[in-house]
Amino acid sequence: MEVFWYALVDSVKLLFGGDAALYEIIGLSLRVSGISLFLAMCIGVPLGYLIGAHRFCGRGLIIAIVNTGMGLPPVVVGLTVYMLLSRSGPIWDLYLAWVGQDMPRVLYTVTAMIIAQVIISTPLVTGVTLAAIASVPTELRLQARSLGASKLQEAVLTVKEARRGVMAAVAAGFGGIISEVGAVNMVGGNIAGKTRVMTTAIQLETGQGNFGLALALGLILIGISFVIMNGFTRVQQSGGRYER
Protein backbone atom coordinates (compact mmCIF):
# COMPACT_ATOMS: atom_id res chain seq x y z
CA MET A 1 0.00 0.00 0.00
CA GLU A 2 2.93 2.29 0.66
CA VAL A 3 3.47 2.90 -3.02
CA PHE A 4 0.08 4.70 -3.21
CA TRP A 5 0.90 6.86 -0.22
CA TYR A 6 4.23 7.92 -1.71
CA ALA A 7 2.48 8.60 -5.00
CA LEU A 8 -0.01 10.86 -3.27
CA VAL A 9 2.79 12.76 -1.54
CA ASP A 10 4.69 12.93 -4.83
CA SER A 11 1.67 14.27 -6.66
CA VAL A 12 1.18 17.08 -4.19
CA LYS A 13 4.89 17.87 -4.30
CA LEU A 14 4.84 17.83 -8.09
CA LEU A 15 1.78 19.96 -8.36
CA PHE A 16 3.08 22.65 -6.08
CA GLY A 17 6.77 22.15 -6.81
CA GLY A 18 6.80 24.60 -9.66
CA ASP A 19 7.97 22.06 -12.24
CA ALA A 20 7.56 23.91 -15.54
CA ALA A 21 7.55 20.69 -17.59
CA LEU A 22 4.63 19.32 -15.58
CA TYR A 23 2.61 22.51 -15.95
CA GLU A 24 3.27 22.40 -19.66
CA ILE A 25 1.93 18.83 -19.83
CA ILE A 26 -1.18 19.73 -17.85
CA GLY A 27 -1.68 22.83 -19.96
CA LEU A 28 -1.37 20.91 -23.20
CA SER A 29 -3.79 18.22 -21.99
CA LEU A 30 -6.38 20.86 -21.19
CA ARG A 31 -5.74 22.74 -24.40
CA VAL A 32 -6.01 19.69 -26.68
CA SER A 33 -9.08 18.30 -24.95
CA GLY A 34 -10.65 21.73 -24.50
CA ILE A 35 -10.36 22.67 -28.17
CA SER A 36 -11.47 19.19 -29.22
CA LEU A 37 -14.47 19.37 -26.94
CA PHE A 38 -15.40 22.80 -28.23
CA LEU A 39 -15.26 21.57 -31.83
CA ALA A 40 -17.16 18.40 -30.92
CA MET A 41 -19.88 20.55 -29.33
CA CYS A 42 -20.07 22.75 -32.41
CA ILE A 43 -20.71 19.65 -34.50
CA GLY A 44 -22.43 17.35 -32.03
CA VAL A 45 -25.06 19.62 -30.49
CA PRO A 46 -26.57 20.80 -33.80
CA LEU A 47 -26.29 17.29 -35.22
CA GLY A 48 -27.90 15.83 -32.10
CA TYR A 49 -30.72 18.37 -32.44
CA LEU A 50 -31.28 17.60 -36.11
CA ILE A 51 -31.42 13.86 -35.51
CA GLY A 52 -33.23 14.04 -32.18
CA ALA A 53 -35.93 16.51 -33.17
CA HIS A 54 -36.89 15.20 -36.58
CA ARG A 55 -38.49 12.09 -37.99
CA PHE A 56 -37.06 10.97 -41.27
CA CYS A 57 -36.30 7.87 -43.26
CA GLY A 58 -33.16 6.10 -42.02
CA ARG A 59 -33.19 7.85 -38.64
CA GLY A 60 -32.90 4.58 -36.76
CA LEU A 61 -29.86 3.57 -38.78
CA ILE A 62 -28.18 6.93 -38.20
CA ILE A 63 -28.81 6.67 -34.46
CA ALA A 64 -27.29 3.17 -34.47
CA ILE A 65 -24.23 4.54 -36.28
CA VAL A 66 -23.89 7.40 -33.78
CA ASN A 67 -24.22 4.98 -30.88
CA THR A 68 -21.54 2.78 -32.38
CA GLY A 69 -19.39 5.87 -32.69
CA MET A 70 -19.82 6.44 -28.96
CA GLY A 71 -17.93 3.21 -28.38
CA LEU A 72 -15.22 3.81 -30.95
CA PRO A 73 -11.88 2.40 -29.71
CA PRO A 74 -9.48 5.37 -29.48
CA VAL A 75 -6.65 3.21 -30.78
CA VAL A 76 -8.59 2.53 -33.96
CA VAL A 77 -9.34 6.24 -34.33
CA GLY A 78 -5.64 6.95 -33.82
CA LEU A 79 -4.66 4.37 -36.39
CA THR A 80 -7.14 5.72 -38.94
CA VAL A 81 -6.07 9.34 -38.45
CA TYR A 82 -2.43 8.21 -38.64
CA MET A 83 -3.04 6.45 -41.94
CA LEU A 84 -5.00 9.39 -43.35
CA LEU A 85 -2.35 11.95 -42.43
CA SER A 86 0.75 9.90 -43.14
CA ARG A 87 2.94 10.61 -46.14
CA SER A 88 1.43 7.69 -48.00
CA GLY A 89 -2.12 8.62 -46.97
CA PRO A 90 -4.84 9.98 -49.24
CA ILE A 91 -4.89 13.50 -47.77
CA TRP A 92 -1.25 13.97 -48.54
CA ASP A 93 -1.90 12.98 -52.16
CA LEU A 94 -4.95 15.21 -52.42
CA TYR A 95 -3.05 18.18 -51.00
CA LEU A 96 -0.22 17.65 -53.45
CA ALA A 97 -2.63 17.38 -56.35
CA TRP A 98 -4.62 20.48 -55.39
CA VAL A 99 -2.00 22.81 -53.98
CA GLY A 100 0.93 21.53 -55.95
CA GLN A 101 3.35 21.24 -53.07
CA ASP A 102 4.00 18.98 -50.13
CA MET A 103 1.53 19.22 -47.26
CA PRO A 104 3.03 20.57 -44.05
CA ARG A 105 3.45 17.74 -41.60
CA VAL A 106 0.38 17.30 -39.42
CA LEU A 107 1.28 13.97 -37.89
CA TYR A 108 3.00 14.32 -34.50
CA THR A 109 1.53 17.76 -33.94
CA VAL A 110 -1.18 19.07 -31.62
CA THR A 111 -3.44 19.46 -34.67
CA ALA A 112 -3.37 15.71 -35.32
CA MET A 113 -4.22 15.05 -31.68
CA ILE A 114 -7.15 17.44 -31.87
CA ILE A 115 -8.42 15.80 -35.05
CA ALA A 116 -8.34 12.41 -33.35
CA GLN A 117 -10.04 13.66 -30.22
CA VAL A 118 -12.77 15.45 -32.16
CA ILE A 119 -13.50 12.16 -33.92
CA ILE A 120 -13.71 10.39 -30.56
CA SER A 121 -15.84 12.94 -28.75
CA THR A 122 -18.25 14.08 -31.47
CA PRO A 123 -20.32 10.86 -31.44
CA LEU A 124 -20.43 11.02 -27.64
CA VAL A 125 -21.75 14.58 -27.69
CA THR A 126 -24.13 13.83 -30.58
CA GLY A 127 -25.52 10.64 -29.07
CA VAL A 128 -26.29 12.01 -25.63
CA THR A 129 -27.60 15.29 -27.08
CA LEU A 130 -29.97 13.54 -29.44
CA ALA A 131 -31.39 11.42 -26.66
CA ALA A 132 -31.93 14.55 -24.55
CA ILE A 133 -33.53 16.45 -27.45
CA ALA A 134 -35.78 13.54 -28.35
CA SER A 135 -37.21 13.63 -24.84
CA VAL A 136 -38.44 17.21 -25.27
CA PRO A 137 -42.06 16.96 -26.48
CA THR A 138 -42.51 17.93 -30.13
CA GLU A 139 -45.53 19.98 -29.11
CA LEU A 140 -43.21 22.32 -27.27
CA ARG A 141 -41.56 23.18 -30.57
CA LEU A 142 -45.00 23.57 -32.14
CA GLN A 143 -45.87 25.95 -29.31
CA ALA A 144 -42.73 27.99 -29.95
CA ARG A 145 -43.49 28.08 -33.66
CA SER A 146 -47.02 29.22 -32.94
CA LEU A 147 -45.61 32.20 -31.05
CA GLY A 148 -43.51 33.17 -34.06
CA ALA A 149 -40.25 31.25 -33.62
CA SER A 150 -38.13 30.53 -36.68
CA LYS A 151 -36.53 27.11 -37.14
CA LEU A 152 -33.34 28.35 -35.51
CA GLN A 153 -35.19 29.94 -32.58
CA GLU A 154 -37.11 26.71 -32.16
CA ALA A 155 -33.81 24.81 -32.03
CA VAL A 156 -32.31 27.20 -29.48
CA LEU A 157 -35.37 26.86 -27.25
CA THR A 158 -35.32 23.07 -27.51
CA VAL A 159 -31.63 22.87 -26.60
CA LYS A 160 -32.33 25.15 -23.63
CA GLU A 161 -35.19 22.90 -22.57
CA ALA A 162 -32.88 19.90 -22.84
CA ARG A 163 -30.12 21.80 -21.04
CA ARG A 164 -29.36 19.11 -18.46
CA GLY A 165 -29.09 16.41 -21.08
CA VAL A 166 -26.93 18.60 -23.29
CA MET A 167 -24.62 19.33 -20.34
CA ALA A 168 -24.41 15.57 -19.78
CA ALA A 169 -23.44 15.23 -23.43
CA VAL A 170 -20.63 17.75 -23.01
CA ALA A 171 -19.43 15.99 -19.88
CA ALA A 172 -19.50 12.64 -21.69
CA GLY A 173 -17.50 14.13 -24.55
CA PHE A 174 -14.93 15.60 -22.19
CA GLY A 175 -14.65 12.38 -20.20
CA GLY A 176 -14.06 10.46 -23.38
CA ILE A 177 -11.02 12.48 -24.41
CA ILE A 178 -9.29 13.85 -21.31
CA SER A 179 -8.57 10.28 -20.19
CA GLU A 180 -7.81 8.93 -23.63
CA VAL A 181 -4.30 7.72 -24.46
CA GLY A 182 -4.37 5.43 -27.48
CA ALA A 183 -5.11 7.97 -30.17
CA VAL A 184 -3.07 10.93 -28.88
CA ASN A 185 -0.07 8.70 -28.39
CA MET A 186 -0.31 7.31 -31.89
CA VAL A 187 -0.86 10.56 -33.81
CA GLY A 188 0.91 12.89 -31.37
CA GLY A 189 3.94 10.76 -30.73
CA ASN A 190 4.41 11.85 -27.08
CA ILE A 191 7.15 14.31 -27.95
CA ALA A 192 8.38 16.04 -24.81
CA GLY A 193 7.50 19.72 -24.81
CA LYS A 194 5.48 19.36 -27.99
CA THR A 195 2.83 16.67 -27.89
CA ARG A 196 3.25 15.11 -24.47
CA VAL A 197 0.01 15.16 -22.51
CA MET A 198 -0.85 13.69 -19.13
CA THR A 199 -2.02 10.31 -20.34
CA THR A 200 0.94 9.74 -22.60
CA ALA A 201 3.28 10.91 -19.86
CA ILE A 202 1.73 8.38 -17.48
CA GLN A 203 2.21 5.67 -20.05
CA LEU A 204 5.83 6.66 -20.56
CA GLU A 205 6.67 6.85 -16.85
CA THR A 206 4.98 3.49 -16.25
CA GLY A 207 7.02 1.97 -19.06
CA GLN A 208 10.17 3.30 -17.48
CA GLY A 209 9.28 1.87 -14.12
CA ASN A 210 8.60 5.21 -12.43
CA PHE A 211 5.38 3.98 -10.90
CA GLY A 212 5.32 6.67 -8.26
CA LEU A 213 5.59 9.47 -10.78
CA ALA A 214 3.10 7.78 -13.10
CA LEU A 215 0.60 7.36 -10.31
CA ALA A 216 1.14 10.92 -9.15
CA LEU A 217 0.37 12.15 -12.67
CA GLY A 218 -2.68 9.91 -12.67
CA LEU A 219 -3.95 11.41 -9.44
CA ILE A 220 -3.42 14.90 -10.76
CA LEU A 221 -5.37 13.97 -13.91
CA ILE A 222 -8.24 12.61 -11.87
CA GLY A 223 -8.17 15.70 -9.66
CA ILE A 224 -8.34 18.01 -12.67
CA SER A 225 -11.15 15.93 -14.16
CA PHE A 226 -13.01 16.16 -10.89
CA VAL A 227 -12.72 19.94 -10.75
CA ILE A 228 -13.94 20.33 -14.32
CA MET A 229 -16.75 17.79 -14.06
CA ASN A 230 -17.84 19.39 -10.81
CA GLY A 231 -18.06 22.67 -12.67
CA PHE A 232 -20.20 21.04 -15.37
CA THR A 233 -22.44 19.52 -12.73
CA ARG A 234 -22.87 22.84 -10.97
CA VAL A 235 -23.96 24.47 -14.19
CA GLN A 236 -26.16 21.48 -15.01
CA GLN A 237 -27.92 21.46 -11.67
CA SER A 238 -28.32 25.23 -11.38
CA GLY A 239 -31.76 26.82 -11.62
CA GLY A 240 -33.39 23.70 -10.17
CA ARG A 241 -36.58 25.53 -9.34
CA TYR A 242 -37.18 26.06 -13.02
CA GLU A 243 -36.77 22.38 -13.81
CA ARG A 244 -39.52 19.86 -14.24
Binding site: E139, G148, R244
Partner: protein
Protein backbone atom coordinates in the same frame (compact mmCIF):
# COMPACT_ATOMS: atom_id res chain seq x y z
CA UNK B 1 -72.20 15.01 -48.78
CA UNK B 2 -73.89 18.28 -49.51
CA UNK B 3 -73.48 20.73 -46.71
CA UNK B 4 -75.32 23.91 -45.97
CA UNK B 5 -72.53 26.45 -46.01
CA UNK B 6 -72.49 29.67 -44.09
CA UNK B 7 -69.93 32.16 -45.24
CA UNK B 8 -69.01 35.29 -43.41
CA UNK B 9 -71.28 38.24 -43.33
CA UNK B 10 -68.15 40.36 -43.62
CA UNK B 11 -64.81 39.35 -45.05
CA UNK B 12 -63.04 36.26 -43.83
CA UNK B 13 -59.56 36.71 -42.37
CA UNK B 14 -58.58 33.15 -43.07
CA UNK B 15 -60.02 30.90 -45.68
CA UNK B 16 -59.11 27.29 -46.24
CA UNK B 17 -59.97 25.85 -49.62
CA UNK B 18 -59.94 22.19 -50.62
CA UNK B 19 -57.87 21.30 -47.59
CA UNK B 20 -56.80 17.67 -47.48
CA UNK B 21 -54.42 16.22 -44.94
CA UNK B 22 -53.28 12.64 -45.27
CA UNK B 23 -51.06 10.74 -42.88
CA UNK B 24 -49.75 7.50 -44.35
CA UNK B 25 -52.56 7.39 -46.90
CA UNK B 26 -55.20 7.88 -44.18
CA UNK B 27 -57.25 10.99 -44.84
CA UNK B 28 -57.46 12.97 -41.63
CA UNK B 29 -58.96 16.19 -42.94
CA UNK B 30 -60.98 16.85 -46.07
CA UNK B 31 -62.59 20.27 -46.00
CA UNK B 32 -63.87 22.01 -49.12
CA UNK B 33 -64.02 25.44 -47.55
CA UNK B 34 -63.56 26.97 -44.16
CA UNK B 35 -63.97 30.67 -43.39
CA UNK B 36 -62.80 32.34 -40.23
CA UNK B 37 -64.55 35.69 -40.10
CA UNK B 38 -63.10 38.92 -38.79
CA UNK B 39 -63.73 39.32 -35.07
CA UNK B 40 -65.57 36.07 -34.48
CA UNK B 41 -64.81 33.25 -32.13
CA UNK B 42 -65.30 30.17 -34.23
CA UNK B 43 -65.46 26.81 -32.52
CA UNK B 44 -64.44 23.65 -34.31
CA UNK B 45 -66.45 21.03 -32.49
CA UNK B 46 -66.03 17.31 -32.95
CA UNK B 47 -65.25 14.07 -31.17
CA UNK B 48 -61.69 12.91 -30.51
CA UNK B 49 -59.82 11.93 -33.63
CA UNK B 50 -62.14 13.84 -35.94
CA UNK B 51 -59.26 15.89 -37.35
CA UNK B 52 -60.22 19.17 -35.69
CA UNK B 53 -56.77 19.89 -34.24
CA UNK B 54 -55.16 19.08 -37.58
CA UNK B 55 -57.51 21.53 -39.28
CA UNK B 56 -56.53 24.18 -36.71
CA UNK B 57 -52.82 23.57 -37.37
CA UNK B 58 -53.35 23.88 -41.11
CA UNK B 59 -55.40 27.08 -40.86
CA UNK B 60 -52.93 28.41 -38.26
CA UNK B 61 -50.01 27.81 -40.65
CA UNK B 62 -48.36 25.36 -38.28
CA UNK B 63 -48.66 22.44 -40.64
CA UNK B 64 -48.66 22.09 -44.40
CA UNK B 65 -51.75 20.35 -45.79
CA UNK B 66 -51.29 17.52 -48.26
CA UNK B 67 -53.39 19.55 -50.69
CA UNK B 68 -55.23 22.79 -50.57
CA UNK B 69 -54.74 26.42 -49.99
CA UNK B 70 -54.97 28.79 -47.09
CA UNK B 71 -55.51 32.48 -47.72
CA UNK B 72 -55.09 35.30 -45.23
CA UNK B 73 -56.86 38.53 -46.15
CA UNK B 74 -57.29 37.05 -49.59
CA UNK B 75 -53.56 36.42 -50.03
CA UNK B 76 -52.33 32.81 -50.35
CA UNK B 77 -50.08 31.94 -47.40
CA UNK B 78 -48.06 28.93 -46.32
CA UNK B 79 -46.45 27.65 -43.15
CA UNK B 80 -43.23 29.33 -44.29
CA UNK B 81 -44.80 32.79 -44.31
CA UNK B 82 -43.26 34.44 -41.27
CA UNK B 83 -45.29 37.68 -41.48
CA UNK B 84 -48.53 35.72 -41.56
CA UNK B 85 -47.47 33.51 -38.67
CA UNK B 86 -46.53 36.58 -36.64
CA UNK B 87 -50.20 37.62 -36.71
CA UNK B 88 -51.20 34.47 -34.86
CA UNK B 89 -50.59 32.90 -31.50
CA UNK B 90 -51.70 29.58 -30.10
CA UNK B 91 -52.71 27.96 -26.84
CA UNK B 92 -52.70 24.18 -26.79
CA UNK B 93 -54.30 21.50 -24.66
CA UNK B 94 -51.14 21.12 -22.61
CA UNK B 95 -49.80 24.60 -21.77
CA UNK B 96 -46.18 23.57 -22.60
CA UNK B 97 -44.61 26.32 -20.56
CA UNK B 98 -40.90 26.80 -21.09
CA UNK B 99 -38.33 26.49 -18.32
CA UNK B 100 -37.93 29.77 -16.53
CA UNK B 101 -40.15 32.31 -14.85
CA UNK B 102 -43.72 33.18 -15.69
CA UNK B 103 -42.50 36.52 -17.04
CA UNK B 104 -39.93 34.85 -19.32
CA UNK B 105 -42.67 32.65 -20.71
CA UNK B 106 -45.07 35.47 -21.40
CA UNK B 107 -42.26 37.57 -22.88
CA UNK B 108 -41.12 34.80 -25.25
CA UNK B 109 -43.03 35.95 -28.33
CA UNK B 110 -42.22 39.60 -27.62
CA UNK B 111 -38.51 38.78 -27.53
CA UNK B 112 -38.81 37.00 -30.87
CA UNK B 113 -40.39 40.17 -32.24
CA UNK B 114 -37.59 42.34 -30.91
CA UNK B 115 -39.77 44.34 -28.52
CA UNK B 116 -37.51 46.41 -26.24
CA UNK B 117 -37.14 45.33 -22.64
CA UNK B 118 -39.02 48.18 -20.95
CA UNK B 119 -42.05 47.81 -23.21
CA UNK B 120 -41.86 44.05 -22.79
CA UNK B 121 -42.10 44.28 -19.02
CA UNK B 122 -45.16 46.54 -19.21
CA UNK B 123 -46.95 44.36 -21.70
CA UNK B 124 -46.16 41.20 -19.73
CA UNK B 125 -47.53 42.77 -16.57
CA UNK B 126 -50.69 43.88 -18.37
CA UNK B 127 -51.22 40.48 -19.97
CA UNK B 128 -50.83 38.68 -16.64
CA UNK B 129 -53.26 41.12 -15.10
CA UNK B 130 -55.79 40.33 -17.80
CA UNK B 131 -55.70 36.60 -17.13
CA UNK B 132 -55.94 37.15 -13.40
CA UNK B 133 -52.32 36.39 -12.52
CA UNK B 134 -51.02 39.88 -11.84
CA UNK B 135 -47.76 40.00 -9.92
CA UNK B 136 -46.70 36.41 -10.60
CA UNK B 137 -43.87 37.41 -12.96
CA UNK B 138 -41.08 35.93 -10.88
CA UNK B 139 -42.71 32.58 -10.08
CA UNK B 140 -41.31 29.46 -11.70
CA UNK B 141 -43.46 28.59 -14.68
CA UNK B 142 -43.14 24.88 -13.98
CA UNK B 143 -44.47 25.06 -10.45
CA UNK B 144 -47.93 26.36 -11.34
CA UNK B 145 -51.21 24.50 -11.02
CA UNK B 146 -52.91 23.31 -14.19
CA UNK B 147 -55.34 26.22 -14.28
CA UNK B 148 -52.64 28.81 -13.61
CA UNK B 149 -50.39 27.27 -16.25
CA UNK B 150 -53.15 27.50 -18.83
CA UNK B 151 -53.76 31.13 -17.86
CA UNK B 152 -50.06 31.83 -18.40
CA UNK B 153 -50.29 30.12 -21.78
CA UNK B 154 -53.20 32.39 -22.67
CA UNK B 155 -51.29 35.46 -21.47
CA UNK B 156 -48.28 34.34 -23.52
CA UNK B 157 -50.50 34.38 -26.61
CA UNK B 158 -52.58 37.48 -25.77
CA UNK B 159 -49.53 39.61 -25.02
CA UNK B 160 -48.65 39.47 -28.71
CA UNK B 161 -51.96 41.12 -29.55
CA UNK B 162 -52.48 38.59 -32.32
CA UNK B 163 -55.08 39.16 -34.99
CA UNK B 164 -55.90 35.49 -34.76
CA UNK B 165 -55.82 33.41 -31.63
CA UNK B 166 -55.64 29.64 -32.05
CA UNK B 167 -57.00 27.65 -29.13
CA UNK B 168 -56.64 23.90 -29.33
CA UNK B 169 -58.67 22.23 -26.58
CA UNK B 170 -57.26 24.73 -24.09
CA UNK B 171 -59.36 23.50 -21.20
CA UNK B 172 -59.70 19.78 -21.65
CA UNK B 173 -56.91 18.80 -19.24
CA UNK B 174 -58.42 20.76 -16.37
CA UNK B 175 -60.73 19.48 -13.67
CA UNK B 176 -64.39 20.51 -13.91
CA UNK B 177 -64.31 23.30 -11.32
CA UNK B 178 -61.27 25.07 -12.78
CA UNK B 179 -62.60 24.43 -16.24
CA UNK B 180 -65.92 26.10 -15.48
CA UNK B 181 -64.17 29.14 -14.10
CA UNK B 182 -61.71 29.34 -16.98
CA UNK B 183 -64.27 28.86 -19.72
CA UNK B 184 -66.14 31.93 -18.47
CA UNK B 185 -62.91 33.90 -18.13
CA UNK B 186 -61.71 32.85 -21.58
CA UNK B 187 -65.02 33.79 -23.08
CA UNK B 188 -64.94 37.24 -21.44
CA UNK B 189 -61.34 37.85 -22.43
CA UNK B 190 -62.00 36.80 -26.03
CA UNK B 191 -64.98 39.09 -26.44
CA UNK B 192 -63.24 41.98 -24.64
CA UNK B 193 -60.13 41.67 -26.81
CA UNK B 194 -62.17 41.64 -30.01
CA UNK B 195 -59.66 39.13 -31.29
CA UNK B 196 -60.57 36.63 -33.96
CA UNK B 197 -60.29 33.17 -32.49
CA UNK B 198 -60.38 29.62 -33.69
CA UNK B 199 -61.39 27.43 -30.80
CA UNK B 200 -61.07 23.66 -31.07
CA UNK B 201 -63.02 21.61 -28.56
CA UNK B 202 -64.90 18.37 -28.15
CA UNK B 203 -67.13 19.89 -25.48
CA UNK B 204 -70.35 21.41 -26.81
CA UNK B 205 -71.06 23.35 -23.63
CA UNK B 206 -67.66 25.00 -23.92
CA UNK B 207 -68.36 25.81 -27.56
CA UNK B 208 -71.72 27.32 -26.66
CA UNK B 209 -70.14 29.60 -24.06
CA UNK B 210 -67.19 30.87 -26.08
CA UNK B 211 -68.21 30.74 -29.72
CA UNK B 212 -70.15 32.98 -32.08
CA UNK B 213 -70.13 30.42 -34.82
CA UNK B 214 -69.42 26.74 -34.76
CA UNK B 215 -68.36 24.12 -37.27
CA UNK B 216 -69.06 20.51 -36.46
CA UNK B 217 -66.45 18.18 -37.82
CA UNK B 218 -66.79 14.47 -38.31
CA UNK B 219 -64.10 12.17 -39.69
CA UNK B 220 -62.22 15.12 -41.13
CA UNK B 221 -65.22 16.73 -42.81
CA UNK B 222 -67.13 19.79 -41.75
CA UNK B 223 -70.70 18.54 -41.56
CA UNK B 224 -72.31 21.74 -40.35
CA UNK B 225 -71.34 25.39 -39.92
CA UNK B 226 -73.37 28.26 -38.60
CA UNK B 227 -74.33 30.50 -35.71
CA UNK B 228 -73.94 28.66 -32.44
CA UNK B 229 -77.63 28.90 -31.52
CA UNK B 230 -78.71 27.56 -34.83
CA UNK B 231 -76.23 24.70 -35.05
CA UNK B 232 -76.81 23.65 -31.48
CA UNK B 233 -80.61 23.69 -31.73
CA UNK B 234 -81.12 22.44 -35.26
CA UNK B 235 -79.09 19.30 -35.76
CA UNK B 236 -79.52 18.52 -39.42
CA UNK B 237 -78.78 14.84 -39.24
CA UNK B 238 -78.90 11.99 -36.81
CA UNK B 239 -75.17 11.89 -36.19
CA UNK B 240 -75.00 15.58 -35.28
CA UNK B 241 -78.13 15.22 -33.15
CA UNK B 242 -76.59 12.31 -31.31
CA UNK B 243 -73.28 14.12 -30.88
CA UNK B 244 -74.85 17.22 -29.37
CA UNK B 245 -77.42 15.24 -27.39
CA UNK B 246 -80.64 16.25 -29.12
CA UNK B 247 -83.20 14.81 -31.44
CA UNK B 248 -82.73 15.49 -35.10
CA UNK B 249 -84.35 18.71 -36.26
CA UNK B 250 -87.93 18.23 -37.39
CA UNK B 251 -89.26 19.11 -40.78
CA UNK B 252 -92.49 21.03 -41.05
CA UNK B 253 -94.40 23.63 -42.99
CA UNK B 254 -95.69 27.03 -41.97
CA UNK B 255 -99.48 26.98 -42.27
CA UNK B 256 -100.32 30.34 -40.71
CA UNK B 257 -98.63 33.35 -39.16
CA UNK B 258 -99.84 35.94 -36.71
CA UNK B 259 -97.80 38.78 -35.22
CA UNK B 260 -94.50 37.06 -35.90
CA UNK B 261 -95.62 33.76 -34.49
CA UNK B 262 -95.89 30.97 -37.03
CA UNK B 263 -98.15 27.98 -36.81
CA UNK B 264 -95.99 25.14 -38.04
CA UNK B 265 -97.39 21.80 -38.98
CA UNK B 266 -95.01 19.05 -37.94
CA UNK B 267 -96.33 15.59 -38.78
CA UNK B 268 -99.93 16.08 -37.64
CA UNK B 269 -99.17 18.34 -34.72
CA UNK B 270 -99.12 22.12 -34.47
CA UNK B 271 -96.08 23.92 -33.10
CA UNK B 272 -95.94 27.66 -32.56
CA UNK B 273 -92.67 29.42 -33.12
CA UNK B 274 -91.38 32.94 -33.49
CA UNK B 275 -90.08 33.51 -37.01
CA UNK B 276 -90.30 36.00 -39.83
CA UNK B 277 -90.64 33.32 -42.48
CA UNK B 278 -93.89 33.49 -44.49
CA UNK B 279 -96.67 30.95 -44.88
CA UNK B 280 -95.90 28.05 -47.16
CA UNK B 281 -92.19 27.79 -46.37
CA UNK B 282 -90.77 24.40 -45.48
CA UNK B 283 -88.81 24.71 -42.26
CA UNK B 284 -86.65 22.82 -39.84
CA UNK B 285 -87.44 23.24 -36.19
CA UNK B 286 -85.48 22.36 -33.11
CA UNK B 287 -86.17 22.69 -29.41
CA UNK B 288 -83.45 22.40 -26.77
CA UNK B 289 -84.52 19.81 -24.15
CA UNK B 290 -83.81 22.37 -21.39
CA UNK B 291 -86.56 24.61 -22.79
CA UNK B 292 -89.32 22.03 -22.38
CA UNK B 293 -91.19 21.96 -19.09
CA UNK B 294 -93.29 18.94 -18.11
CA UNK B 295 -96.46 18.73 -16.02
CA UNK B 296 -98.46 15.71 -15.05
CA UNK B 297 -101.24 14.94 -17.49
CA UNK B 298 -104.10 16.02 -15.20
CA UNK B 299 -102.42 19.05 -13.64
CA UNK B 300 -104.04 22.43 -13.29
CA UNK B 301 -101.70 24.48 -15.45
CA UNK B 302 -100.19 27.60 -13.93
CA UNK B 303 -100.57 30.81 -15.95
CA UNK B 304 -97.77 30.73 -18.48
CA UNK B 305 -96.76 32.57 -21.59
CA UNK B 306 -95.78 29.30 -23.21
CA UNK B 307 -97.63 29.11 -26.51
CA UNK B 308 -97.05 25.44 -26.98
CA UNK B 309 -98.97 23.12 -24.68
CA UNK B 310 -98.97 19.59 -25.93
CA UNK B 311 -100.28 16.41 -24.43
CA UNK B 312 -97.48 13.96 -25.12
CA UNK B 313 -96.56 10.36 -24.48
CA UNK B 314 -93.32 9.43 -22.77
CA UNK B 315 -91.35 7.13 -25.05
CA UNK B 316 -88.18 6.73 -23.02
CA UNK B 317 -86.41 8.11 -19.95
CA UNK B 318 -82.64 8.26 -20.01
CA UNK B 319 -80.45 9.17 -17.03
CA UNK B 320 -77.95 11.93 -17.88
CA UNK B 321 -76.12 12.75 -14.67
CA UNK B 322 -78.11 15.26 -12.66
CA UNK B 323 -81.02 15.26 -15.08
CA UNK B 324 -83.27 12.85 -16.90
CA UNK B 325 -83.73 13.10 -20.61
CA UNK B 326 -87.27 12.31 -21.57
CA UNK B 327 -88.21 11.38 -25.13
CA UNK B 328 -91.73 12.46 -25.98
CA UNK B 329 -94.08 11.99 -28.90
CA UNK B 330 -97.46 13.20 -30.00
CA UNK B 331 -99.09 12.77 -33.40
CA UNK B 332 -95.73 12.08 -35.02
CA UNK B 333 -93.98 15.01 -33.36
CA UNK B 334 -90.94 13.87 -31.40
CA UNK B 335 -89.12 16.10 -28.96
CA UNK B 336 -86.98 15.63 -25.87
CA UNK B 337 -87.23 17.28 -22.48
CA UNK B 338 -84.60 17.64 -19.84
CA UNK B 339 -85.98 17.49 -16.29
CA UNK B 340 -84.39 17.30 -12.89
CA UNK B 341 -84.15 13.92 -11.22
CA UNK B 342 -86.58 15.02 -8.50
CA UNK B 343 -89.17 16.32 -10.95
CA UNK B 344 -88.85 13.16 -12.97
CA UNK B 345 -89.61 11.09 -9.86
CA UNK B 346 -92.48 13.28 -8.82
CA UNK B 347 -94.11 13.06 -12.24
CA UNK B 348 -93.61 9.33 -12.21
CA UNK B 349 -92.15 9.48 -15.69
CA UNK B 350 -91.87 6.12 -17.38
CA UNK B 351 -92.45 4.88 -20.91
CA UNK B 352 -96.13 5.02 -21.70
CA UNK B 353 -97.14 7.72 -19.22
CA UNK B 354 -98.83 10.89 -20.39
CA UNK B 355 -97.59 14.39 -19.68
CA UNK B 356 -98.22 17.96 -20.66
CA UNK B 357 -95.23 19.55 -22.38
CA UNK B 358 -94.90 23.33 -22.36
CA UNK B 359 -92.43 25.39 -24.36
CA UNK B 360 -92.38 28.96 -25.53
CA UNK B 361 -92.68 30.03 -29.13
CA UNK B 362 -89.37 31.82 -28.71
CA UNK B 363 -87.68 28.58 -27.62
CA UNK B 364 -88.41 26.95 -30.93
CA UNK B 365 -85.60 27.45 -33.37
CA UNK B 366 -86.78 27.75 -36.94
CA UNK B 367 -84.78 27.71 -40.10
CA UNK B 368 -85.81 27.51 -43.72
CA UNK B 369 -85.34 23.95 -44.95
CA UNK B 370 -84.24 25.17 -48.35
CA UNK B 371 -80.83 23.80 -49.17
CA UNK B 372 -80.80 21.27 -46.35
CA UNK B 373 -80.41 17.69 -47.52
CA UNK B 374 -83.66 15.80 -47.63
CA UNK B 375 -82.38 13.03 -45.40
CA UNK B 376 -83.54 15.08 -42.45
Amino acid sequence: MSVRTHHCGGTPIITGEDITVRYHRRTVVEVARFDLCDGETHAILGPSGSGKSTLLRVLGLLEKPTHGRVTLDGRPVTAGDKDARMMMAAVFQNPYLFKGTVAENVAYGLRLRGVPRSERDDRVAAALERVGLGGTQKSSALRLSGGEAQRVALARALVLEPRILLLDEPLSYLDPLIKRRLVTDFSEILSAEGVTALYVTHDQDEAMVVADRVSIIREGRVVRTGEVDEVMTLPTDEWIADFIGMDTALRGGIVATEEGIADIMVASEHVHARTDLPVGVDVLIGIRPEDVTLFSGDAELPPSSARNRLRMRVEAVERMGSTDRVSLSSNGLRIAASVSRAASRELGLEPGSEVLALFKATSVRVQSAVGVPTGV
